[in-house]
């Protein structure tokens, strides 16, 4: 009883929901059909992890990075170039080095994290909208680089990458459930890691400079270094989602990291809610479900395709809840809480995303 009393009712409810959800997901293939397991949910984890890297930077570091899609793509391209083999019946795009997939996996993560650290170091002195624009530029460079430099791929996809997986992963083409569990596990680890980092001295000072970087700087904190490291960590997380993406999709093309893909990841984050890491997965889920199921519906009078309806759905979500679906949950809880006379539970949460930090 005394242990329970330390937690607010909201935390308790959230924990119960989380445990129930995890149990459901762990039993995934037994409950859901193949399409849901292999496409909707696996994809939710993949893009959720990428979105989590974006939300981590915003919620704890006050940075909106539009480079996460590109970093995801860099790690995917690294694997694609390293593992595929050329020759008859083989792949025709990229370097086709044919290296050991485990080595390629490690290298891809290391390379992406290193590039992330360089990107982060260059951007570490920019704030607010300028940070957003600079990271958008990284994204556009990566897109054009892989599109034009045909040695690394070119406009067409490097494909067939999912044939070459490390031994401990095994055959994911014929056993996609494996990939489902790997993605689920990675998502959980990433989530826990982010929650943990937020409580470390590094995480605390990161949140400090999110709130007031000038003061933190004058207190002697190395602001650019903190932001660079945070960006490097986010790049590491993005590289994981990139690895999962090529394993799942089997291919990587510049379209995966174009402006539309970059905007889509941001939309995922905003639908989910930028203030909490959980929002990443909720947003990815909602986005994928909307995109898959809002079809074959036509608006009377105005016409147009399902894209109009998808646009309208997003419009409504952004209008109704500035903090996305997670924010909606928080607000629901507050309404309930006030009615029942309980205390508010806003301690330790990031500020709402209503205004971008300048």
């Amino acid at each position: 009883m005394s242990t329970l009393a330390r937690y607010s009712p909201k935390t308790l409810v959230e924990s119960v929901i989380a445990i129930a959800l995890l149990a459901l997901l762990a039993a995934g293939p037994a409950v859901f059909n193949d399409y849901w397991v292999n496409t909707v949910l696996t994809q939710t984890f993949i893009f959720g992890i990428a979105a989590a890297s974006l939300i981590f930077l915003f919620a704890y570091g006050g940075m909106i990075s539009l480079a996460q899609t590109a970093l995801m793509g860099i790690s995917a391209y690294a694997i694609g170039n390293m593992v595929t083999r050329g020759g008859a019946g083989g792949e025709t795009k990229g370097l086709t080095l044919g290296w050991d997939p485990t080595l390629a996996l490690v290298l891809a993560i290391v390379i992406t994290t290193a590039i992330g650290l360089v990107f982060g170091a260059v951007a570490s002195r920019s704030f607010g909208i300028y940070f957003l624009m600079l990271t958008l530029t990284y994204g556009v460079i990566a897109n054009y680089f892989f599109g034009q430099v045909t040695q690394f791929g070119g406009f067409s996809p490097i494909a067939g990458i999912n044939q070459y997986t490390p031994g401990f992963v095994g055959d994911i083409i014929n056993h996609p459930d494996k990939l489902y569990y790997i993605a689920l596990g990675t998502a959980i680890v990433v989530y826990m890691l982010m929650r943990y980092i937020a409580t470390t001295p590094f995480g605390l000072s990161l949140q400090g400079l999110r709130d007031d970087h000038v003061r933190m700087g004058s207190l002697g904190y190395n602001v650019p270094l903190h932001r660079t490291l945070a960006f490097g960590f986010a790049a590491f997380v993005a590289s994981l989602s990139g690895v999962l993406l090529v394993w799942w999709d089997g291919q990587i093309a510049p379209g995966n990291i174009g402006l539309n893909a970059t905007i889509e990841l941001l939309v995922i984050c905003v639908i989910g809610g930028l203030a909490r890491v959980e929002g990443a997965f909720l947003g990815a889920f909602a986005f994928i479900v909307i995109n898959n199921y809002v079809r074959d519906v036509e608006l009377p009078v105005v016409g147009g395709s399902f894209n109009t309806i998808i646009g309208l759905v997003f419009l409504v979500i952004v209008i109704v809840s500035p903090d996305g679906l997670m924010g909606l949950w928080d607000r629901l809880w507050r309404t309930f809480d006030r009615r029942s006379g309980g205390s508010s539970d806003a301690v330790g949460e990031a500020p709402p995303a209503e205004a971008m930090p300048q």
Partner: protein
């Protein structure tokens, strides 16, 4: 903290419940019905080829209407759907239309939706080159599903990748241009030419056909320029071309939005265009861009699209009549319509032979020859090679003025064009690229056999 009123929360909750109601029923496995073939038609509805959406669907459904007894729901709007198509005792149920944007990632996303979520057994599509590369790789992992390419022009899906469950009843981008190089060499007297082409797989493949054909007869390509896709200003790229006078001609393989823009840039750089110095691939004559571009290039020779607009054979007229009967507005001689038509027709024949069974049975039963509209060789049949790629007659065109309208006329008949160009392209050779193929003099199977076509009639004369 802002005060939150209860009613404001009702709307999103209602929306979420509605959303839940939509997806939950679909999320649990349901048994598939017997004697039903689930068909997906994959095309584009976004990006540069968005206009192909109704053309592709219309082409495929016209075939189902003519050969499988389907009823068209709306003669003006193919995407309104179709009912009642049957073949081999099975109902052909169109489960969905794919909406690509000519990029590989979207193509895969849509393919998964159609094949995994909507559980299609057969796909007719996709529309464009890189999409087909992506789908071919996907097809490799789903051997029980069958893929019949819609109208994609890249070479790799049936040459380098060549999954056993993928079929293509039309030529690739290189095949479509077969014969044009020889015509430019003989009719226009070109000996040297420069080529400007889109920097992606369709541009390269289409350009490869022109380069291979022109070089094979003895021409020289002196310069290749590659404007990136989505180039806004073509002026600096056009200036990379050799000046007028230093080459005999220019070959344009710039598509979609770039065709008119790059030609305008050329005019602005060097003055009015002399059509006899210019040739283009299908973007000069098809895909709607014809009317923007064509007035500037009356007299230019143009590569084909596997079709022969205005060809007066019984078979061609019957095909065009059938399309017009079901969809009066569809341009039957457009490759978008024709290639999707043949794909769907082949499916109907396959299903008839397999008695409505799909998977390996259908793949075995899909016809290895198809008596398609504009085919003349082999008794009017298109043949598939061992990698299930069409060996198809091709028809180089010329932009002509007829009274007040500008249109295209077939000038040549190139019999039995295969994908390998007499061994130049092999499964082990790299796919066409910026430097591939090299300019080589070579004997092509159709060299010296291109027949003159006059007023839609194939004559005995050979082009000299």
């Amino acid at each position: 903290m802002k005060k939150v009123r209860g009613w404001k929360l009702l709307l999103p909750i209602a929306a979420l419940v509605a959303l839940g109601a939509v997806f939950v029923p679909g999320s649990f496995a349901s048994p598939s019905q017997a004697s039903e073939v689930r068909l997906a038609i994959m095309t584009d509805c976004k990006g540069a080829f968005a206009f192909g959406y109704e053309l592709d669907i219309g082409g495929a459904q016209a075939a189902l209407a003519r050969h499988a007894g389907g009823k068209v729901k709306n003669r003006k709007k193919p995407s309104a759907g179709m009912t009642g198509a049957r073949a081999g005792g099975a109902n052909i149920n169109i489960v969905g239309y794919g909406c690509g944007d000519d990029t590989a990632p979207t193509a895969i996303k849509e393919t998964r939706r159609l094949m995994d979520q909507l559980r299609a057994d057969v796909m007719v599509g996709p529309l464009s080159g890189d999409e087909a590369v992506a789908v071919a790789n996907y097809a490799k992992t789903k051997p029980t599903k069958t893929f019949i390419i819609g109208t994609a022009g890249s070479q790799d899906p049936t040459l380098q990748i060549a999954p056993k469950n993928m079929f293509r009843y039309h030529g690739d981008g290189a095949q479509w241009n077969a014969g044009l190089g020889e015509i430019l060499y003989k009719r226009s007297g070109w000996r040297t030419a420069a080529i400007i082409m889109d920097d992606y797989s369709f541009g390269w493949t289409s350009g490869a056909g022109l380069i291979a054909d022109f070089c094979a007869i003895g021409g020289k390509i002196t310069k290749r320029v590659f404007p990136p896709l989505n180039t806004t200003d073509y002026a600096p790229f056009v200036r990379q071309l050799p000046r007028p006078g230093s080459v005999d001609g220019y070959i344009w393989v710039v598509g979609g939005t770039g065709t008119a823009a790059s030609l305008k840039a050329f005019e602005q750089a060097y003055g009015a265009i002399d059509p006899s110095d210019h040739a283009g691939n299908l973007f000069f004559a098809f895909l709607g861009a014809d009317k923007v571009v064509a007035p500037k290039v009356v007299g230019s020779y143009v590569g084909g699209f596997g079709t022969a607009p205005g060809l007066k054979t019984k078979q061609a007229l019957a095909y065009e009549g059938a399309v017009k009967r079901h969809y009066p507005d569809l341009p039957a001689a457009d490759g978008f319509v024709y290639n999707y038509y043949n794909a769907a027709w082949a499916l109907v024949q396959g299903l008839t032979k397999s008695k409505g069974r799909v998977g390996a049975a259908l793949q075995r039963a899909l016809p290895r020859t198809l008596k398609s509209g504009y085919e003349v060789s082999d008794g009017g049949r298109v043949r598939l090679d061992s990698r299930r790629q069409a060996i198809q007659d091709q028809y180089p065109l010329q932009v002509v003025r007829r009274g007040n309208t500008i249109t295209t006329a077939v000038v040549g008949y190139v019999p039995n064009v295969d994908q390998s160009f007499g061994g130049l392209f092999k499964p082990s050779s790299p796919a066409p690229g910026r430097a591939q193929p090299k300019c080589l003099k070579k004997k092509l199977p159709w060299q010296g056999k291109i027949r003159v076509v006059r007023n839609g009639v194939i004559t005995k004369a050979v082009i000299r």
